[in-house]
Amino acid sequence: MNYQDSFRDKELVQGLARRIAELTRGRKKPLVFMEVCGTHTMAIYQYGLRSLLPPEVKLISGPGCPVCVTPNGYLDRAIALSRLPDLTITTFGDMLRVPGSSSSLMEERAKGADIRVVYSPLDAVRIAAANPAKRVVFLGVGFETTAPTVAGSILAAKAQGLSNYFVLASHKTMPQPMAILSADPDLSVDGYICPAHVSAIIGADAYRFLCAEYQVPCVVTGFEPTDVMQGVEMLARQALQGESRVEIQYSRVVRWEGNAKAQGLLAEVFTPFDAPWRGIGVLPGSGLRIADAYGEFDAELALPVQVEELKEHQGCLCGEILKGKVAPGDCPLFGGKCTPESPVGACMVSSEGTCAAAFKYGR
């Protein structure tokens, strides 16, 4: 067996599953581990990892899909901006179909708004440079992996002297919701599968306070089936021994201290603020807004618009799903009124959403 195959090797994955079963055998209350990264959610569904685990171990999905935790109000503002003359919205593709209060960017595009999907925030800067008569707004949504790329785009726009590039920023940071969920008496999380690439930026040290304050084990894992299963095994071991430490399973990419340069860019361009999360509410210090020194690039300040009154989608359980309190199948809309083709809530829109993963893989 070569090194490459070892990540997918069925025997190895099943061996890890057996070890987890042996460790937890006879346990009355299941151990509940939460993954807080949309890419982990996808991998867990794709490989059917839940079905390999014993009943003593339960995996639940948390608020790890950036599109899913973005509230309607943000979409409504983006939609209002898209209706301004000589304005181009640039965004990652998965924002297009997310319903706001009464429209979506996809619908606005069909009506003639200039909305373009880009691969990188730097592409948005290039569009701004090539179209000086247009105002170009990039929708800055994402966690600590994406936020530094947006910070980089603002610095690039500044270096080029552009005055027509703006960011509508709604970046979020991961450790705060994990603390809130840890403190929630309705939800007993016995350990976190910590996000892989977020951790590449913030470093595994960022989770130490969770272990200290909430006695909850944290393991940073990669995305391969063996990564996730090994991460679960490491969490189970800690939980059963009554320990709560941060461990790095994904050591091929993640370091304790993270990426200092990216952290520096975040600190330069953004300021922490109390951000609203869909379904969870406002979490103190959990978001990144554009720092005052870069206010000229802040679409919210520089391009005032009238935003329609907020309307929530009736019956959609996205909020409870994002907190790991209910499973997609528990939502009355799941698979009926709400499908990937015609999504009601964000968890069904984004491919990283729990509902989309559950729908696609039929579990």
Partner: protein, 76 residues
């Protein structure tokens, strides 16, 4: 959105690198990387930026998996 794809650096000019995977070439900014990078190295690219270095074997293994899990459009 948070998918990071391992790609190989084939040329570097200032802060910009040209990277390649499966014959697909992408420009990537090295602005965020705090590690020394040279031609031939593998890096994880997220939204047009290299965010981390990784060694070749790890990169190849990760890629194999990602091809299976993700839709082509997410692979950038």
């Amino acid at each position: 959105m948070c998918v990071g794809v391992p790609m190989q650096v084939i040329s570097i000019e200032g802060d910009q690198a040209l990277t390649e995977v499966d014959g697909v070439k992408r420009e990537a900014s090295l602005m965020l990387l705090d590690q020394e990078v040279k031609v031939g190295d593998f890096v994880i690219i997220h939204a047009g930026f290299a965010i981390s270095k990784l060694d070749e074997e790890d990169a190849k293994a990760t890629l194999e998996l990602m091809r299976e899990v993700f839709e082509p459009e997410l692979m950038g």
